[in-house]
C-alpha cells in the first residue's frame, strides 16, 4: 500500500482537500501522522493564547483598572445630560427673541419702503421741475401737487401755464 506523500499530509493538515482522502480513512499510519501534526499545532495555539492572556493581565491588570475607576480622584465634570439640557433651554429662549427682533426689523423696513415709494410717487407726479417751484408758488399752485388736482380744488386757480392758457 502506498502511503500519502509529505505534501499530501501537509495539505490535509492545512485543511485542503486531496483526492486520496479514502486512503487517509483506511490507513492508520497516515492518519496518525496527520493527528500528530495537528496536536502539535493545537499545543502551539494554546501556548500562544495562554501567553497572550498572561501578558494582557500583566500589562493592564483588571483589578487595578477597577480600583482606579472607583478610588482615583477624577476631575469634576458636568454630566453631559445637564450640558445638553442647558443648551436646549438657551436655544428655546433665544429663538423667540430672535424672531421678535426680526419681525420688528421687517416692519421698520416695510415702513421705510412705503415712505420711499410715497416720495417717488410725489416726485413723479410733480407738475414741474423742482427749480420751477418758486414760480409755481407765485402763481398760486401748491408745490408738488399735480396740476390737475390743483385745478380741481375748489377756489383754486390753474396751477400751470397750460391751465392758464399757456405761454403766449
Amino acid at each position: 500500500m502506498k502511503h500519502l506523500s509529505p505534501e499530501q499530509i501537509s495539505s490535509v493538515v492545512a485543511g485542503l482537500r486531496i483526492p486520496e482522502e479514502d486512503h487517509l480513512r483506511n490507513c492508520a499510519d497516515c492518519a496518525r501522522e496527520v493527528e500528530r501534526v495537528q496536536s502539535v499545532l493545537t499545543v502551539f495555539r494554546s501556548s500562544v493564547r495562554e501567553l497572550t492572556d498572561k501578558m494582557d493581565h500583566s500589562e493592564f491588570p483588571v483589578h487595578e483598572a477597577v480600583s482606579s475607576r472607583t478610588h482615583a480622584a477624577r476631575p469634576h465634570r458636568a454630566p453631559m445630560g445637564w450640558v445638553l439640557a442647558a443648551a436646549a433651554l438657551a436655544a428655546a429662549e433665544a429663538i423667540p427673541i430672535y424672531q421678535d427682533s426680526r419681525d420688528r426689523e421687517l416692519k421698520a423696513q416695510e415702513e421705510r419702503d412705503a415712505q420711499l415709494l410715497d416720495d417717488v410717487n410725489a416726485q413723479l407726479s410733480r407738475s414741474g421741475p423742482m427749480a420751477m417751484d418758486p414760480l409755481m408758488q407765485l402763481m398760486g399752485a401748491p408745490v408738488g401737487v399735480p396740476a390737475k388736482e390743483a385745478s380741481k380744488a375748489p377756489g383754486s386757480e390753474p396751477a400751470t401755464m397750460q391751465d392758464k392758457g399757456g405761454i403766449q
Binding site: 505534501e7 492545512a14 499545532l41 495555539r45 494554546s46 501567553l51 497572550t52 501578558m55
Partner: protein, 115 residues
C-alpha cells in the same frame, strides 16, 4: 447573543494582535512562549516534548515569509477559516491555500524529527 460572541472574539483577537505586534518587534522569545504552556496534569516527559514542539513551531514560523506566517497564525492561532483570512489579507482564497500549504509543509519538516 451572536453580537456578544463576536465582541468577545474581537476583544481576544485585539489582545493577540498586540501580542503579534510584539512578536514582530522581536520582543517575545521562545522561553516566554513556553512559559505560557500549562501543565494540564501532563507528565514531565510530555511537558518537555510539548515545549520542544512549541519551540520548533515557533522557530519554523520565523523562517516563513511574511505572508505565509500571517496565514499560518491566522489559521492555527486565530482559528479563522480560509475565506475569512482571504478577506482580512485582501487576497484570493486560492492564494491563502498556497501560502497555508507552504507554511504547514515548512513547519512540518521542522517538527518532523520530534516525536
Amino acid at each position: 447573543m451572536q453580537i456578544a460572541i463576536n465582541l468577545v472574539r474581537d476583544f481576544a483577537r485585539s489582545r493577540r494582535i498586540r501580542f503579534w505586534q510584539r512578536v514582530k518587534d522581536m520582543a517575545v522569545d521562545c522561553a516566554s512562549l513556553n512559559d505560557g504552556l500549562a501543565s494540564h496534569g501532563n507528565s514531565p516527559e510530555a511537558q518537555a516534548v510539548a515545549k520542544e514542539q512549541v519551540e520548533a513551531v515557533w522557530r519554523a514560523t520565523g523562517n516563513l515569509s511574511e505572508r505565509q506566517r500571517t496565514v499560518f497564525l491566522l489559521r492555527f492561532v486565530e482559528d479563522m477559516d480560509l475565506l475569512e483570512i482571504a478577506n482580512v489579507m485582501g487576497v484570493s482564497e486560492g492564494a491563502v491555500k498556497v501560502h497555508l500549504f507552504r507554511a504547514v509543509h515548512t513547519v512540518r519538516e521542522r517538527i518532523g524529527a520530534i516525536r
